[in-house]
Every structure is written in C-alpha cells, then in structure tokens.
C-alpha cells in the first residue's frame, strides 16, 4: 500500500513575526501535518504569524479548516495571523466560503511584516 504524500513546510523567524511557508497542495492528506506545524508555531505565541501561501497550488476545505483553527488559536494567544501570497484559485475558495473577510490577507510576506 503506497503511503500518502506529505507537504513541505518551512518555518522562519523574521524578528517581527514567524513566517510559515507550506509548499504544494493542502488537501485531505496534507492538512494534518500543516495543522501540526501551525500549532507548534502558535504555542510559541509569536507577535505575528504569517502564512505565506505563494507556493500553494491548490487548497480545499480541510486546508481552510486548518487555517480557521489557527485563527482561533491565534486570537486566544493574542497573535496576529496574516495570510499572504494567495493565487487566484486559492483566493477563490476563500471567497466561496466567505472567509476572505474573516482573515487578514496581504499580498506579500514583506507587506505582512510591515503591517
């Protein structure tokens, strides 16, 4: 039985915030490791948690649910969660779910760090 594919996630401390950069697709299989990565970063209570989605080609509702959980945890920890780098397809799913007004969304990591 082949094993499900995994997602590459980079975590970088940029002084003014922590940047989490997933790469690939965030679907059914990838949502759990993405959730674990976000949880680990959130537990450190950074001032800003920036999720750079520029390298995410596809996302479905397990990915969205993971980000909603991260947002709820960030609010509890007084962390500012910012999403950036959404391509048109990923942005479309936020709009269909009407979550584009719930999240703070910026264009780039630099804009997010300066916000």
């Amino acid at each position: 039985m082949p094993e499900p594919s995994s997602i590459n996630i980079r975590v970088e401390d940029r002084g003014n915030g922590t940047v989490v950069t997933p790469e690939g697709e965030i679907g059914y299989e990838e949502a759990p490791p993405f959730r674990n990565a976000l949880r680990r970063v959130s537990e450190q209570r950074p001032k800003r948690l920036i999720v750079d989605l520029a390298r995410v080609e596809y996302m479905n509702t397990p990915g969205l649910a993971t980000l909603v959980e991260a947002l709820q945890m960030a609010k509890k920890n007084s962390t500012r969660l910012i999403l950036c780098g959404l391509n048109d397809k990923v942005r479309a799913i936020f709009e269909i779910a009407r979550l584009h007004k719930v999240f703070e969304i910026k264009g780039t990591v630099d804009e997010s760090l300066a916000a």
Binding site: Y28, N60, A97
Partner: protein, 171 residues
C-alpha cells in the same frame, strides 16, 4: 443523452487518489470548453465530494469502492453545454435532506464542503442508492461566466470546424 457514461472509473476510498480524480475531471472540463477558473471549481467540487465520502461515508476506511462517471451535457448545435458528474459509493446511507452546508456566518472549522459543492455547481443532488450507498449527481453548465475565452457563443472552437466535439478546442 445516452445513459452510458462517457467516462466511468472505479477507485478506492484512499485519499492518495484524490488528486488523480481531480485532474481527470478538470482535464475533461477543459476539453469541453470550460474556463480555467470553472475547471478548478468543478475539480474542487469533486474533491470535496470525494473527501466527504472517504471521511463520513466510509469513516476513513481506505478500501471502499467509489464510482466516478462523466457525461457531457448537450448544448446548442450539438456542442457540449456542460458536464454531468455522478459519484456513487457503497458507504453508509444518510437522509439526503440532512446533507446541508453550514451557516457561513458561524466561523468554525469543518462543514464547508457541501456548501462549496452547492455554490460552484449548478445542480447537486444527493440520493440513496438501491440497497446501500449514496449517489451524488452534479451538473455544471457552460455559461458566459464559465466558458473558456476561445469558445464561441454556439459552443464551437477557434479552429473553424464549428463542432462542439472538436478535439482542437483549447489547444
């Protein structure tokens, strides 16, 4: 439209194969003349429906059968007017009226899949199959907002043949 699907595949309820199913559906939608955005939405709807079957229908069991069938929906002048997609399984049955998307104003994780399916498809109908399992029928029509730029109003293509089944479409 013939009852016989133009494409019918059987897959197991293993998430490993979700991307393959998505790519198949997106590719067929592209050939039928849907825009890139619409192709992505159709593939997303199928992905969400398959995720729900795997997670809720089969309780994450990876070996349950799922059948995916595709038909072009006839349009004007014999061209494709849309895409019909049917997903069938042998998972547990639930009352179709109980399958609803959640209130979007209530921001919480989960429960978004059905909302997305209903939002991006023109039709989405859940039924119990005879005996066991569920059947989901989804239809997406090619309209002004969902057709590819090269597609003419009559559903023809830029190659000049005017036929809806032209294989040069979208090349």
């Amino acid at each position: 439209m013939s009852d016989r699907p133009h494409i019918r595949i059987e897959m197991v309820s293993n998430p490993l194969y979700l991307s393959g199913a998505r790519e198949l559906v997106g590719s067929v939608a592209r050939r039928l003349g849907f825009s890139e955005l619409a192709c992505g939405q159709i593939a997303l709807a199928v992905d969400e429906a398959l995720c729900n079957i795997i997670r809720h229908g089969y309780d994450r069991r990876p070996d349950g059968p799922i059948w995916l069938s595709l038909w072009p929906v006839p349009g004007d002048n014999g061209s494709a007017g849309g895409l019909k997609i049917v997903l069938e399984d042998e998972a547990k049955q639930i009352d179709p009226s109980a399958i609803r998307g959640r209130d979007l104003d209530d921001v919480k994780p989960g429960g978004l899949g059905v909302h997305i399916i209903r939002e991006v498809m023109d039709e989405a109908r859940y039924e119990k199959r005879d005996g066991h399992g569920m059947k989901l029928t989804m239809v997406k029509k090619i309209g002004p907002d969902s057709s590819a730029p090269g597609r003419t109003a009559a559903g023809g293509s830029d190659c000049g043949c005017g036929g809806g089944s032209c294989l040069d479409k979208q090349e």
